[in-house]
């Protein structure tokens, strides 16, 4: 047998222990290292035996966790679903991009048209042609402004009758025209109960004295 250094001799002994040989077999094979190898190989055997003492504990743990682990549903994103998901996102991103570009171009043309119509009469034909093309999407702001203007007078006229009972008693008889003759006369006591402030002309304090 060729002479081995200490590291190789120790490794050979470990391999012999793996194959089922005894500690004494190893020491007999390498008598020159026997004393020091014996100490180390005892630790090796102790480690192996220590691991084997965990057998019962490990089997109990295996029983406890078997049901839960084997019932585990794999959390895996397959390549097919990833591709589907990515393609949807890509299509959506492209739609958003081109939509944004179209909107930006439309707005830009409108602004350019509004800026350039006045100074150059030569540009007016070209701008009118573009205006007719882009009027469909871009005309939405203009009707809204006209619509909001029209209902304002109607709102004010319809709101006046509803506000009539809540007005303070002093200005209403003088400000309101005689709309209906059948309306009962306004009684100041009806309004005075809810108001904390005393009505005008009653706070003189002369009558109390």
């Amino acid at each position: 047998m060729k002479p081995l250094n200490y590291t190789e001799a120790f490794n050979e002994c470990v391999e012999r222990l793996r194959q089922g040989q005894t500690l004494q077999d190893c020491l007999n094979a390498y008598p020159e290292y026997a004393s020091s190898l014996k100490e180390l190989l005892q630790v090796v055997i102790a480690t192996r035996d220590n691991s084997n003492t965990l057998l019962q504990e490990a089997q109990e743990a295996r029983e406890r966790h078997r049901q839960r682990i084997l019932a585990t549903r794999p959390v895996v994103i397959s390549s097919r679903s990833v591709f589907r998901w990515q393609s949807l996102v890509a299509v959506f991103a492209l739609m958003m991009f081109f939509g944004g570009v179209l909107l930006w171009l439309n707005r830009d043309e409108e602004d350019v048209a509004s800026e350039q119509i006045a100074p150059s009469p030569r540009l007016t034909p070209t701008m009118t042609s573009t205006a007719t093309q882009t009027n469909v999407p871009s005309s939405t702001p203009t009707p809204t402004s006209t619509v909001t203007n029209t209902p304002t007078p109607t709102n004010t006229s319809t709101s006046t009758p509803t506000r009539r009972p809540t007005l303070t008693p002093s200005p209403t008889p003088t400000l309101l025209p005689p709309v209906d003759e059948e309306d009962p006369p306004i009684n100041e006591d009806d309004f005075g109960e809810e108001d904390d402030d005393p009505p005008p002309y009653e706070d003189d304090g002369q009558d109390d004295d």
Binding site: T47, S51, A58, R62, S78
Partner: protein
Amino acid sequence: MIFLVLPDYTEEDRLLSLARGGSQLAIAEIYELYYVPVYQFMRMRVADRTLAEDMTSEVFVRMINAFNGKNAPSQSLRGWLFKVARYVIHDYYGAKKKMPQTTLEDWLPDPDESQHPEATFFKKIGIDALRQAIQALKPEYQEVIVLRFGQFLSLQETADIMGKTVGAIKVLQLRAIEKLRAQMLPLGGAEA
């Protein structure tokens, strides 16, 4: 006495090919065969029993996910499992920044027990004390001791799992066992 828990390579290859084909029975059989060695690996390195169970379970959950994805083991199932076990420990203690290390005083035996002349070295220090001594080593030494001497994996398997060469594992295992032995000297190990 050598008690090998790991199955032979032929059985392992058969299970691996079946599991890669989607066989739930093969996955269940892998669980039955490999839970104990993976748990032993964990328990030798982690002091807390519940934590070792949780970490072992995590290894098998990752295995089930891997068999349904692209990262399924292709060659050595046991090597893959121990490698994942290393990652699980690293992930856990990496999040906590530091592995807990026991001190020598934590596992010194009762002085009365060490007075028995007939007691051998290993019976004196006790099973738990040896385990705690291993856990007091640096992680690299722990791994090589548990893989080589706890599970009796081959040099090549240990090298693959730890990402080192066979020559490096030879040197590392000797240094690790010497370090472990040195920690046990105060317990009377030199008398054995």
